[in-house]
């Protein structure tokens, strides 16, 4: 019977794939509608027709209404409007079909209560084999006897089936001897042969394999227990335990070896991530981001954190080498929420929060400043500028940090709908974020839409799509770092000046002779408008087809489309743009990155002991960037802002740029598991990059890994302490290609000069070629151990690694006599080695639950080789003197400067020291390192290191009844921060305000050994004074939630409220706002501060509803 049916269907389909699918759907649909009651035969049932003549449609309808039979047919092949004429009024259904069949030239076949219509050209009416069906009822429960609702019960080999109700009961009709297939997600399927029993009791056993966490790795997934590489995971629950604006935040303190730094506390400010230290000098050290398979998404600020289902971080070479030339810095894989089978779930999440300045820097007030300045002038032999009257009763005493900041408000709303059936699943969400920054007027608004769809077009063909559109508008104030921006003015502005004078004009520091001339911070924040509007669309579509059993072909195409525009206006009311009469800028960026990936995967278990999972593929990716900018000065009125550049009488030359790069890759991976105990992974990728030289376009990145599930060995049986034990080893090579474009080819640069008073353009030397330029290569070995104790109540993961990066992509200095400064070459080596620990423990597991997750990671970095001569390199960011140095034998992140010994207390000390003959008592003593009697660049040395010795995270979660509490503490230890602020705030008196610590300055009466006398000249040498301990322990997040008891409420599933605080404490000796800082950004900006945006402390109230 089965074969006949199959043949019939094949006949119907005539080999045409989509026809087949459609017909199967139709047949399914028709056949599932029945399945109850005693079957009748068409020759047993008589029917009286209402009229002797009717069309096919009416005929079918009448039979379906008056008898238990239903028709199944292919709409396209049957003309239902055709008229049928019947000669007799009464007759059996079979006789009727006989008549109809002759007129329609079709055959009919009865199967149970379904009548299949088969267009054959001849007429046969037949009843398919005997159907002895009997009603069967049953109950499906789990091992604990709890009913399982929604389990599928299917008569094997047919399309007959049903699902269990809320109490786990089902009923259907099946013939004796039929096999029922009972299945439910997360349980092992069971086969029951129908005997003479009519009431079945079926117990499903949990499927350990499918219950197990599935981990996303590049181009596939594996069960967590089958992992051979080092992969860090943050699951959905943990991700959403903090209010997030940037998804990178969800990683902070949670994965060992992954250091996440929030380097600008401005709304939407960027994060920097280092995975297992810094490998590179001139190329990026940031990991590769892959969002739903789209590779190379620049940063995570465009992904709505609420949409994220899981984040996986690939750390070792075995895991990352599938990303080849882009894998060396680790890979962050983001998977977004998709629909699941079941009734629609509607979620609403809402958060309201406010934040304020977590730390304030103590500055001099008006009287104190005036006193200091007078003292400085007197020391320098000049007439003081302030009278005693002014000092005692300053007219204004402005606290600029107070004036320039505020309590900022934040709200975030998200609606999501997730659901689907076996055929199609959907996940749709809409989000809105409105976040104010604590500095006046800084603000981020963002709206997102996401649509994720999955369709089983057939049981062999799957179609999936992910689409997200993100629109944000951001008023930024943290640009122009190092310049006189608001965060700097907030500290440097004179306290004796008001925000505004009586006539309504803003003060600026040049209002006082000798002042550097910064506009006051409130003026900058209120008057400069700097908007970044970004629309970003990420879309991906894949088709997966099971060509033959176990072999799947997947074709996917994705695009990342970015449109950014910047509108800037600095008005005529500010000092900086007063003389140029305003400055208006408009610029935009358009970027398109597309990718196509074609993979074949094969998965099979042979003889029950060889588990093979292999994939190979070819991918293409191309990125194109275009930008355009125009600006003008000389606006007649501030009214126009950036909206009418034509009004400016001094337009600046327009700018534009265009570039693209492309990658073509071949990749493959084999996972082989023997006896579920010995796990092998071999993977490789060959990447071709347009960024490299003619002779080195393609690079090959292989890796291999072996893991051993020791706990599954026979000798581990019989003991109950170690429940899980796995040893992992891996070695592989990955690359880094993240340098700019065109670095391998020569170019001419544009020059501007004036001839006869006119702008004249020149084209001259730009760059010399390096046809040998290639990727940077990082080889990494990893050894790890996963241990589970006492039924996995305590689990421990340890990883140790050694990485060496060769052929560094170094923007290597050239002798200036060439006329060039540097060229990208592959020279140098860097190593990183480290060890990581992670412990998860279920401390208490009763009514009261207490879990602890703790992680700690250590990393050591060393530069092994630099250039041919191994000369030191000063990579910047640079201030008045160099901040950083790269030196063989020293870590990346070494800080450079002089050593301060203290303060000269008297003339005698000046004479004894000898190297600072012009110094006076009260001046700073520097170490004459080479003892040549002069303080110069030869006396600089390495005075610090911005790379931490270790990072840790400590997460405790508590659940009691309906309450849950999470407390997360995060820390970084052993790193230095170079704080440039004292340069201006301690050693440049009279031009700007100073730290309150200046009150403890050296005077003959107060022999301070740390703070020099106040004086009118300044000292700008970067020294040990500017290196501070950047270690900190931060109360990252504390969140208390309450889950309402909703039993018996059908319309609502979950309701949770929570209150949380971020950055709720910070323990650090650092003198700035926050030691987690990078004012200048870039590879070497980490841990270097020059008046950064202050870090807020944030409080949030949230509501989460699930319907």
């Amino acid at each position: 019977m089965k074969n006949k049916l199959l043949k019939a269907i094949l006949m119907l389909s005539k080999g045409f794939l989509y026809g087949l699918i459609l017909q199967m759907l139709l047949v399914n649909f028709a056949s599932i509608m029945q399945a109850k009651g005693q079957y009748k035969r068409i020759d047993e049932v008589s029917i009286r027709l209402s009229v002797p003549s009717m069309n096919v449609r009416q005929f079918f309808k009448e039979i379906e209404r008056k008898t238990p039979f239903k028709f199944a047919y292919d709409n396209k092949k049957l003309d239902k409007s055709q008229l049928l004429v019947f000669d007799s009024e009464l007759g059996t259904v079979e006789e009727r079909l006989q008549v109809a069949g002759q007129q329609l030239q079709v055959s009919f076949r009865q199967m149970n209560h379904t009548i299949d219509v088969v267009p054959t050209g001849q007429t046969v009416v037949q009843v398919m084999a005997e159907v002895e069906l009997r009603p069967i009822t049953g109950t499906v429960t789990d091992e604990n006897g709890e009913p399982i609702p929604g389990a599928t019960v299917l008569v094997e080999g047919t399309n007959t089936g049903t699902a269990t109700d809320i109490d786990g009961n089902f009923s259907l009709d099946a013939e004796e001897g039929a096999v029922l297939l009972v299945s439910f997600i997360g349980y092992e399927s069971q086969r029951i042969t129908v005997g003479n029993q009519s009431n079945l009791s079926i117990t499903l056993v949990e499927d350990q394999a499918s219950l197990e966490e599935v981990v996303v790795i590049g181009y596939g997934t594996v069960n967590k227990s089958d992992l051979t590489g080092s992969v860090g995971i943050v699951d959905s629950e943990l991700i959403h335990s903090r209010p997030l604006t940037n998804a990178a935040d969800a990683l902070q303190g949670r994965i060992p070896g992954v250091q996440v730094m929030n380097n600008s506390a401005a709304p939407g400010g960027n994060f920097s991530i280092r995975i297992r230290g810094s490998n590179s000098i001139s190329a990026t050290n940031e990991p590769l981001y892959v969002v739903d398979g789209i590779i190379g998404v620049g940063g995570l600020q465009f992904i709505n954190p609420n949409d994220i289902a899981s984040i996986e971080v690939l750390k070792d070479a075995s895991a990352t080498s599938i990303y080849g030339a882009r894998g060396a810095n680790g890979v962050v894989l983001i998977s977004t929420k998709r629909g699941k089978v079941g009734k629609p779930q509607i979620t609403y999440d809402s958060q309201f929060g406010f934040s304020n300045m977590a730390r304030k820097i103590p500055m001099l007030n008006a009287s104190q400043y005036m006193q200091m300045e007078n003292e400085a002038y007197l020391y320098s032999g000049l007439t003081p500028q302030f009278t005693q009257e002014q000092i005692q009763n300053p007219e204004f005493d402005t606290d600029w940090q107070e004036e320039a900041t505020r309590t900022a408000f934040r709200q975030n709303h998200q609606i999501g709908v997730y659901g689907g059936n076996e055929q199609s699943k959907y996940g749709i969400s809409i989000g809105y974020l409105d976040e104010e920054g604590i500095m006046l007027n800084s603000k981020l608004e963002r709206a997102n839409i996401r649509i994720n769809l999955d369709n089983n077009l057939s049981d062999k063909l799957v179609l999936g799509t992910s689409l997200t559109i993100n629109h944000s508008k951001d008023r930024r104030i943290d640009t122009d770092n190092g310049g006189l921006n608001a965060s700097r003015a907030m500290l440097e502005m004179f306290p004796f000046l008001p925000v505004k004078y009586e006539d309504g004009t803003y003060s600026n520091s040049a209002d006082h002779p000798g002042g550097e001339g910064t506009d006051n911070p409130v003026a900058i924040l209120n008057e400069i408008e700097d908007y970044f509007t970004i629309t970003r669309t990420l879309g991906n579509l894949f088709l997966e087809y099971e060509v033959i059993k176990d072999l799947k072909v997947r074709i996917s195409g994705g695009a990342d489309i970015n449109y950014e525009s910047r509108n800037y206006y600095s008005p005529r009311t500010l000092r900086r743009t007063r003389n140029t009469r305003g400055l208006a800028i408009r610029s935009n960026v358009r970027e398109l990155s597309w990718q196509n990936e074609n993979t074949i995967s094969y998965q099979k278990i042979l003889n029950g002991r060889h588990d093979i999972n292999a994939m190979m593929g070819v991918t293409w990716q191309q990125f194109r960037h275009e930008n355009f900018g125009a600006s003008t000065r000389g606006l007649n009125d501030d009214f126009f802002k950036f909206n009418n550049l034509g009004i400016g009488d001094t337009p600046q030359p327009p700018t534009s740029n265009t570039f693209d790069w492309a990658l073509n890759s071949y990749l493959g991976r084999i996972n082989y598991i023997l006896d579920k105990k010995y796990l092998f992974t071999v993977s490789a990728r060959m990447d071709g990059s347009s960024k490299f030289g003619e002779s080195n376009k393609y690079g090959f990145f292989p890796s291999g890994a072996f893991a051993w599930r020791i706990s599954d060995e026979g000798f581990m049986e019989g003991q109950e302490i170690i429940s899980d034990l796995k040893l992992r080893t891996s070695y592989g090579i990955t690359g880094n290609q993240e340098i700019g474009v065109f670095n391998s080819i020569s170019s001419l640069a544009t020059y501007t000069y004036i001839i006869d008073g006119q702008r004249t353009i020149g084209l001259g030397p730009g760059r010399i070629p390096n046809p040998d330029l290639r990727w940077e290569k990082t080889s990494q070995g990893n050894i790890g151990l996963d241990i589970g104790l006492v039924n996995n109540r305590l689990s421990l993961t340890i990883d140790a690694y050694y990485k060496q990066t060769n052929d560094l992509l170094l923007n290597a200095p050239l002798p200036y006599t060439t006329g060039y400064e540097s060229i990208f070459r592959n020279i140098g080596r860097v190593e990183n080695r480290g060890i990581e620990f992670m412990i998860s423990s279920v401390n208490v597991d009763r009514d009261f639950q207490w879990n602890t997750d703790a992680n700690i990671s250590f990393n050591d970095n060393e530069v092994l080789e630099l250039g041919a001569e191994g000369d030191d390199i000063f990579p910047g960011p640079g201030f008045v003197t160099q901040t950083n140095i790269l030196r063989v034998g020293q870590p990346i992140g070494s800080l450079w400067g002089w050593t301060r010994l203290g303060i000269f207390q008297n003339e005698e000390e000046v004479l004894t020291h000898g190297a600072q003959p012009n110094a006076q008592p009260g001046d700073i003593i520097y170490l004459d390192l080479n003892e040549d009697g002069v303080i110069d660049s030869q006396d600089q040395s390495i005075i610090g290191n911005t790379a931490p010795k270790y990072n840790f995270g400590f997460i405790n979660t508590f659940v009691y009844k309906n309450f849950d509490l999470i407390i997360e503490i995060q820390g970084v230890q052993g790193n230095d921060v170079m704080n440039l602020n004292p340069i201006v705030l301690e050693d440049r008196q009279t031009q700007a305000n100073s730290y309150a610590t200046l009150l403890d300055r050296w005077t003959p009466e107060n022999p301070s050994n740390t703070i020099a006398r106040v004086r009118k000249n300044s000292d700008l040498r970067l020294s040990t004074r500017h290196v501070e301990d950047g270690s900190f322990i931060r109360g990252r997040n504390i969140s208390l939630g309450y889950n309402f008891n909703l039993q018996g409420k059908e319309w609502i599933n979950t309701l949770k409220v929570f209150a949380s605080a971020q950055n709720f404490f910070l323990i650090s000796d650092y003198g700035g706002y926050d030691p987690e800082v990078s004012t200048y950004g870039g590879n070497f900006g980490q841990g270097i501060e020059f008046s950064s945006y202050p870090t807020p402390r944030t409080f949030t109230l949230g509501l989460s509803v699930g319907l």
């Binding site: 080999g15 320098s380 004796f496 000046l497 004078y501 209002d511 002779p513 001339g517 060509v547 033959i548 074609n598 593929g617 070819v618 293409w620 600046q652 534009s656 265009t658 570039f659 492309a662 073509n664 071949y666 071709g688 990059s689 347009s690 960024k691 376009k697 474009v741 065109f742 391998s744 080819i745 020569s746 170019s747 001419l748 640069a749 020059y751 501007t752 000069y753 004036i754 001839i755 008073g757 020149g762 084209l763 001259g764 030397p765 010399i768 002798p815 200036y816 006599t817 060439t818 006329g819 060039y820 400064e821 060229i823 008045v880 660049s937 440049r988 031009q991 000249n1017 300044s1018 700008l1020």
Partner: protein, 338 residues
């Protein structure tokens, strides 16, 4: 079976489609700049090649940071000027104190800018002769390149003594480590370049002369200065005489007029580096103003460089240059905020 073969065909198609790589895909095709090989084709290309050499000149007089500028290399150690007090600088204070530390950016940048100019001039001399263009225009452009190369080397040899000599543009990274040449070799090259330059440069004031471009007079004057430096007195005198007698230049009646902005590119100016506020501005004058006194509108006043008092006092009070060269009264301070 028919279905299976269809599947294999599909599979094969997908595979062959995917693996059929194309070399063009990974080729870089810049659209915003041009490679030297595709350039130097016509008279306009030659013109913009020489413009790029001139464009190096202003770099010596633009700011580095905090009121510092490369030309202070020569001013600070002199007896005329002192580094301004209260200015946030380190390097120029050391120049003022005769500390010649290799880390001083002024020294490094002078060296770097000079060789940038030399390399750009060498590029002109390397590529332009091959261009099919008017021989007159070509000769003039080459002469300008000779002039500018001599200009850069003359400063270099006087500042650093024996320096590497290169008369070819740098085209790749082979052979980039040059050794120093004897001072006499450098001077020989300078003199040869200036003699080459003199012939085809226009005379100042002629219709071809343009403000900013080298003239015959500029080349001869520089040559006179070179001879003077080498103590070849007679040649120096003859060259200088040539310039004086050329009739192309005259002294201003008033000494101060030579420094008046109104007389930019005036009759007494032989060769001037050109600036325009909105195009390539320089804060040159601001460095000479007392710090933050609100004296002038367009730039900050850095107070970076101050006259040496001894030097100032060395002028007798009735010396007109004293009044012309110095501001003797500090302009009125802005009133303190009351």
């Amino acid at each position: 079976m028919k279905n299976y073969s269809l599947k294999y065909i599909t599979l094969f198609l997908i595979l062959s489609l995917g693996f059929a790589g194309c070399d063009e895909f990974l080729e870089e095709n810049p659209e915003t700049f041009i490679s030297p090989n595709a350039y130097y084709r016509n008279a306009e290309d030659a013109q913009s090649a020489i413009n790029a050499v001139y464009a190096i000149l202003p770099r010596f007089y633009q700011g580095i940071a905090y009121g510092e500028s490369v030309f202070f290399t020569l001013e600070m150690p002199s007896d005329q000027a002192d580094s301004g007090t209260g200015v946030s600088v380190v390097d120029q204070d050391r120049l003022d104190a005769y500390i010649y530390d290799p880390a001083i950016r002024h020294l490094r940048l002078w060296w770097q800018y000079s060789y940038q100019g030399i390399n750009a001039a060498n590029s002109v001399l390397y590529y332009v002769p091959e261009i099919d263009m008017s021989e007159n225009a070509k000769a003039r452009i080459l002469s300008e390149a000779y002039y500018l190369r001599a200009y850069f080397y003359f400063d270099l040899v006087r500042l650093f003594g024996a320096v590497p000599l290169t008369v070819e543009p740098t085209l790749n990274i082979s052979n980039v480590n040059l050794t120093r040449e004897d001072v006499t070799v450098i001077y020989d090259q300078i003199i040869q370049d200036l003699i080459n330059a003199e012939h085809h440069l226009p005379v100042a004031g002629s219709i071809e002369a343009e403000h900013g471009r080298a003239t015959k007079g500029a080349a001869s004057t520089l040559l006179a200065k070179v001879y003077l430096t080498l103590e070849r007195w007679e040649e120096a005198s003859n060259k200088a005489e040539e310039v004086v007698n050329s009739g192309a230049y005259q002294l201003f009646d008033d000494y101060a007029d030579a420094f008046d902005v109104e007389n930019k590119n005036g009759k007494e100016h032989i060769f001037s580096i050109q600036f325009e506020r909105t195009i390539n501005s320089s804060n040159f004058h601001a460095w000479f103003l007392p710090r933050y006194r609100g004296i002038q509108a367009n730039t900050e006043e850095f107070g970076a460089i101050l006259p040496n008092m001894e030097f100032y006092n060395s002028y007798s009070d009735d010396d007109y240059r004293k009044a012309a060269n110095f501001i003797q009264v500090i302009p009125q301070l802005m009133d303190l905020v009351s």
